[in-house]
C-alpha cells in the first residue's frame, strides 16, 4: 500500500519560502509526475516526502500514518537519484543488496531477491561489476534495482533520466512505465521534461514557484489548462497566446491556440502571414509564421505542408478549440 497525503506542507530555507503551502492527495498505485520549470520546488517537495529535508510546517501522511517526524529509512520509501548515487566501492550485487543488509534480511533471501531484481532489470550478467564499469543506462537500472528489492510503499524518482542521452531516455522511459505496470506500486517522478510527464503519468502535478498550478491527467491538462501558466507550460511546441483585438472579440484578455489547431492554406484563410522558419520532419511540419496584426504564431500540421522561408500563407484557427483566459490569467 502506498497512499501519500500532503497537508499544508511548507518549506523555507532561511528567509526564502520555497514552498508556501501545499495540499496533495496521491492514491495507492498511482504514477504521479511533478513537473515545472527549474527552481519551482518540485525536487524540494520530493525530498520533503522522502524525509531528506525537514518540513517547515504541515504534515505528511503515508497510508494514513503521520511520518512528518520520521527518518527517511522509516518511511518505507525508495528513491532513485539523478546522479544514480550508487556506492562506487561495491559491486552491483552489493549495491542492490545494501538496503536488505541494512534491514538485516536473511542471507539466502537477499540472494534470491537480488537475482530476481537483476532478472527484471536485465542486470544478471553484470552483478559482479563495479558501477564504474557500467554504462549510464545500466547504472540507472542498478539504482532502480536497489529501490525495487526493498519492496517500498512508493518509489521516488528525482529526474532519473536527465543524465542520459535522448535515445536511451526514450528506452528507459518505457522501462519505467513497464515496471510500474508490473509492480503497481505508487511512483512519484520529478522531471522538467514534459514529454516524460505526458507519456508516463497517471496524474501530473504542475508546480510553479512552490505552488500547485494544476493537478490532473495528462490529457486534462492538455485540453483544459486551468490558467495561463499551465497552458504555456504543457504542450510542445508551446500554445500560442494571443492578446489584443482578437482576444477581446472572443470576450477574453488572452486567447490560447495550440499549434495543431490551425487550418493552413496557400489560398485563403482568416489570417495571413509570412513564414519565418519552416521545419519539415516528414511526419509533421512546424511553421513559424509572422501573422499580420497578430505577431509570431507556431503552427503544426500532420505530414508535409509545402512552405519555405518568406512564403505567404493563410491560417484559420479552429474556433471550437480556443482557450480563453481572463485578466487574472484563469481559464474562462
Amino acid at each position: 500500500m502506498g497512499s501519500i497525503t500532503l497537508s499544508r506542507v511548507s518549506k523555507s530555507f532561511g528567509e526564502a519560502k520555497v514552498i508556501p503551502s501545499i495540499d496533495l492527495e496521491i492514491q495507492d498505485g498511482e504514477f504521479v509526475v511533478f513537473v515545472g520549470p527549474s527552481g519551482c520546488g518540485k525536487s524540494t517537495l520530493l525530498r520533503l516526502i522522502a524525509g531528506l529535508e525537514d518540513v517547515s510546517g504541515g504534515q505528511i501522511l503515508i497510508d494514513g500514518k503521520d511520518v512528518t517526524q520520521k527518518a527517511p529509512a522509516q518511511r518505507g520509501l525508495a528513491m532513485v537519484f539523478q546522479s544514480y548515487a550508487l556506492y562506487p566501492h561495491m559491486s552491483v550485487r552489493n549495491n542492490i543488496a545494501f538496503p536488505l543488509k541494512m534491514a538485516k534480511v536473511d542471507k539466502s533471501l537477499i540472494d534470491k531477491k537480488v537475482s530476481d531484481a537483476a532478472g527484471i532489470l536485465n542486470l544478471t550478467d553484470y552483478l559482479e561489476r563495479r558501477p564504474s564499469q557500467l554504462s549510464g543506462g545500466q547504472r540507472q537500472r542498478v539504482a532502480i534495482g536497489r529501490a525495487i528489492v526493498r519492496e517500498p510503499s512508493a518509489f521516488l524518482f528525482d529526474e532519473p533520466l536527465s543524465n542520459l542521452d535522448a535515445a536511451l531516455r526514450g528506452t528507459m522511459r518505457l522501462e519505467i512505465s513497464e515496471l510500474h505496470n508490473q509492480l503497481k506500486t505508487t511512483m512519484i517522478y520529478v522531471t522538467h521534461d514534459q514529454i516524460e510527464a505526458m507519456t508516463m503519468a497517471d496524474k501530473i502535478v504542475v508546480l510553479n514557484r512552490g505552488n500547485i498550478e494544476q493537478v490532473g491527467s495528462p490529457l486534462e491538462l492538455y485540453s483544459r489548462p486551468r490558467n495561463l501558466f499551465v497552458a504555456g507550460f504543457i504542450g510542445s511546441p508551446r500554445m500560442n497566446l494571443i492578446e489584443g483585438e482578437f482576444a477581446r472579440s472572443k470576450g477574453a484578455k488572452t486567447v490560447g491556440i495550440r499549434p495543431e489547431h490551425f487550418a493552413l492554406s496557400h489560398e485563403s484563410g482568416l489570417w495571413s502571414g509570412t513564414v519565418t522558419v519552416a521545419e519539415h520532419l516528414g511526419s509533421d511540419t512546424f511553421l513559424h509564421v509572422n501573422v499580420d496584426g497578430i505577431g509570431q504564431i507556431n503552427a503544426r500540421c500532420d505530414g508535409e505542408f509545402e512552405a519555405r522561408h518568406g512564403d505567404r500563407i493563410y491560417l484559420t484557427p479552429n474556433e471550437t478549440k480556443l482557450h480563453r483566459f481572463d485578466e487574472q490569467g484563469l481559464a474562462i
Binding site: 522522502a50 531528506l52 527518518a71 527517511p72 529509512a73 520509501l77 525508495a78 528513491m79 537519484f81 539523478q82 546522479s83 548515487a85 550508487l86 556506492y87 562506487p88 566501492h89 545494501f98 538496503p99 541494512m102 534491514a103 536497489r146 526493498r150
Partner: protein
C-alpha cells in the same frame, strides 16, 4: 593541432627534469656522501669522493644511543598523527557535510595559525609547558605536534570529504543505514584513500618538525631532530658524524615516503585534477 613532440624535445625535457631533481636531492646526497668520509675529509672542503668509511655510524651509535631518539620519533609522529586524525575526521566531516555560514571562516582561521611564525609564541608556550610539567615529556610533545599539524589535517580531510557526493550519503539514508552504518559501510570506504594520504603526510611532517622538538626537549623525550642537533655542539662541529646522524634520522621517513609516494601525490593533488 596537437603540439608535436619530437625526440629532441623529449631528450631536453628529460635532461631538465633530471637536473632539477638532482638540485633538489643534492643536499641529501651530499649528506650521505659526507657521512662516509673521515672527519678531516669532511672539513677539507667540497669533495664528492668519500673514502667509504663507516666508522662515523659506529661512533654515532656508541657515543649516543640512536635507538632511544628513534623510538621517540616514532612515538611522537605516530601518536600525534593518530590524535590529529581522531580530532580531524569528525571536524572535517561536520564541516564538509553540514556546513554553516561560518565554516569557511573557521577553516581560514585555522589556516591562519600556520602563517604565524612559531618563534612568536615560543616564550608563552615554553612557560606553559614548564608550569604544567610538560617539558621534555612525550605527552607534551605529542600534544604540541598534534596542534601544529591539525589545521593541515583538517584541510586535507575536508577537501577529500567534499568530493564525496552528498547524494550517495542520502541514498544510504534512504536505504535504511543509520548514522553509524552510513559512516562504516559508505563514507569510510570511500574516504580511505584520503585518510591514508593525510596520515602519511602528517607522519612525515611530525617526523621532520624540528623547531618545537628541539626547544621543548632535552633528553628523555628528544626525537631524532634533537639527536642530529646535538652533534653540532658542544665540543665543536663534527661534519661527518653529524651527517651520519642525519642520514640515520631521515632514512626511515625517506623509505616510507618512497613506498607511499603514489598515495601522497594523489592526496596532495586531490581536487585539483579529477
Amino acid at each position: 593541432m596537437a603540439r608535436a613532440v619530437t625526440t629532441r624535445h623529449k631528450i631536453i625535457a628529460t635532461a631538465a627534469a633530471w637536473a632539477v631533481a638532482l638540485v633538489i636531492f643534492f643536499p641529501i646526497l651530499y649528506t650521505l656522501i659526507t657521512s662516509i668520509k673521515t672527519e678531516p675529509e669532511a672539513i677539507a672542503g667540497f669533495n664528492l669522493i668519500p673514502s667509504f668509511t663507516f666508522e662515523n655510524y659506529v661512533t654515532v651509535q656508541t657515543q649516543r644511543d640512536y635507538i632511544k631518539p628513534f623510538m621517540n620519533s616514532v612515538i611522537l609522529s605516530v601518536g600525534s598523527t593518530i590524535l590529529a586524525l581522531v580530532i580531524g575526521i569528525p571536524s572535517a566531516w561536520a564541516m564538509a557535510f553540514s556546513p554553516t555560514k561560518r565554516t569557511k571562516d573557521v577553516l581560514m582561521w585555522m589556516l591562519s595559525t600556520k602563517m604565524m611564525p612559531a618563534v612568536a609564541v615560543l616564550v608563552p608556550i615554553y612557560l606553559m609547558f614548564r608550569d604544567f610539567g610538560l617539558l621534555d615529556t612525550r605527552i607534551g610533545l605529542t600534544i604540541m605536534l598534534t596542534l601544529i599539524n591539525l589545521p593541515i589535517v583538517i584541510w586535507m580531510l575536508y577537501t577529500y570529504f567534499r568530493e564525496i557526493p552528498g547524494e550517495i550519503l542520502e541514498a544510504a539514508r534512504m536505504d535504511g543505514a543509520g548514522l553509524w552504518q552510513e559512516i562504516v559501510y559508505v563514507l569510510t570506504p570511500m574516504a580511505v584513500p584520503g585518510i591514508a594520504s593525510t596520515l602519511l603526510l602528517n607522519i612525515i611532517l611530525a617526523w621532520n618538525e624540528s623547531f618545537w622538538t628541539i626547544r621543548l626537549t632535552t633528553t628523555s623525550a628528544a626525537p631524532l631532530t634533537a639527536f642530529i642537533a646535538s652533534f653540532s655542539s658542544p665540543q665543536g662541529l663534527f661534519w661527518a658524524k653529524l651527517s651520519a646522524a642525519s642520514t640515520m634520522a631521515i632514512a626511515p621517513i625517506l623509505i616510507m615516503g618512497w613506498f607511499s609516494q603514489k598515495q601522497l601525490v594523489r592526496g596532495l593533488t586531490f581536487g585539483a585534477v579529477k
